[in-house]
Every structure is written in C-alpha cells, then in structure tokens.
C-alpha cells in the first residue's frame, strides 16, 4: 500500500496492491456480517466485541446503560454499515494501474468517503484490538493465540492507513499548519 496523499483537486489518493484490496474487502464484509448479526439479535457475537463497539453510556448504572443501548443500537449499527458500504463502494470505482510488480488499485476519496473510511477503519481496529486483548486501558493485553501476530499486523496496517488518511485530510482542510 502507498499511503494516502492529498491531490491538488482536494481528493485523497492511496494505492493498494490487488491482494491488499481482496483482504480489505473481505474484512469489511465480515464487519458488515457481524453488525447484521448483532442487529438481528443473534447471540453468537463475542460479548467483549459488543461491549467495545457499543460501549456503556453510564459507568455506574448498568440498567440505564442497557436501556440506552436498546434505544441507540439500531441507529449505530446502520451508521456503521453505511460507513462499511461506503468503503466497499470506493473499491468498486478504484482504477486499476499496471506496475512492474503487477496490478495496483488507485483509491480516490472525496471528503464524504474519507469519513466512511475513518469510521470503518476505527471499527476494524476496535474488533482486532478486542481479539488481541488491547482494546481498553484495563485490558491485560497480548492474548496468546496462534494468529495473534497476523491480527496485530492487520491492526498496525489499518492504523497506518488511518493515520495517513487523517494527515492527508488535514492537508486538504488546511489544519496541519495552523
């Protein structure tokens, strides 16, 4: 992947290798699947993931927190799914370019799609961090699982993508230098 950069026209442009695109799309589709299962009330979703994606709104009143979650869950899920679909849409329209090493995809985002990306990259990182045991300050951290190293590399990769997108966005919005 080549990091996001601001174009003179004010878009955000990044380059992904074909395998990266396939991996990214697969994970985004998995997030959509997960969110849809939560919305349908299916109980097979890891409680720690739920607790991090839909956190308590009240620290010392569990019943108020539960009630709040009941009222807000559907809208939050819809918003997260909308973000994820926005990310998939930007891959759909990404131009292909041949390079010496093979084919790459040029992902070009306007501000609206950049917001979809920021949201989905956050959700992906939250889910990955939960499986690594590093999602909250009180987590013990470093869960030893066979694929922890792979999950961590994805977590870092999405962090890199999000960091570069924010930097490019600040450049477009003229915030970086102020």
């Amino acid at each position: 992947m080549r990091a996001f950069d601001a174009t003179p026209a004010g878009d955000l442009l990044a380059e992904f290798e074909t395998q990266e695109v396939a991996l990214f799309i697969d994970l985004v589709q998995q997030i959509i699947g997960l969110l849809e299962r939560v919305k349908e009330g299916e109980a097979d979703v890891e409680p720690t993931v739920l607790a991090r994606l839909f956190p308590d709104a009240y620290t010392d009143d569990p019943s108020a927190a539960d009630e709040f979650r009941r009222f807000t869950l559907d809208d939050l899920i819809d918003r997260k799914v909308e973000n994820a679909r926005g990310v998939l849409a930007s891959f759909d329209v990404a131009q292909a370019r041949r390079t010496a090493d093979g084919e790459v995809r040029l992902v070009r985002l306007d501000r609206e799609h950049a917001m979809y990306w920021l949201g989905t990259l956050t959700d992906l990182r939250l889910v990955l961090a939960t499986s690594l045991g590093i999602a909250t300050v009180s987590d013990e951290g470093a869960v030893e699982t066979p694929d922890a190293e792979y999950v961590e590399s994805l977590y870092d990769w999405f962090g890199f993508a999000q960091g570069s997108l924010l930097e490019a966005l600040e450049e477009v919005e003229g915030i970086g230098g102020s």
Partner: protein
Amino acid sequence: MPQLDHRLDLAESLTVGTPWNTVVWDDPVNLMTYVSWVFRSYFGFSSARAEELMLQVHTSGSAVVATGPKEEMERHVVAMHGYGLLSTLAKVPQ
C-alpha cells in the same frame, strides 16, 4: 400571610433538572490524530481546543467535552460511540 422564614430559590426551581457532562475516555486503540479530528468535525472545536481536549483524554484518562441538558448529552454520547470513542454521560457534580 406568607411564610417569611422560607427562602424560595427561583433559579433552582426554574432549572429543568441538573446539567450533565459528556465525558470521553482514553482508549489504547484510537489514534490521537483521530480523536482530535472527531472533536473538530463533530463539535466544531478549533484545532487548538480539540488538541487540548484530546491531550487531556490521553494524559488524565478522560475529559469533559460538553455540558448541558441530559437529552443533548445523550445525543453527543451516541455520536461519540458512532465514531468508536468511549464516552459516557454523568451528572455535573454539585
């Protein structure tokens, strides 16, 4: 004749409920630049204010980012959850 020894606090009786705080909590996942961006784009804070609050979240573990009526603070908390931040609401300590 009205009770003269009873003082009525009009300001208190006319205020609808106590004000609430929207609190954002530190978490090890979200990038500092992302948290600042959320504060700028959702609350419309200046870069300097957003940066200040983000650093307060990061170093003190939490920061009050808004104060007001409960319903309004609930909307802020949902929005923060939408952005993936850890956020709660609590009555302003009296």
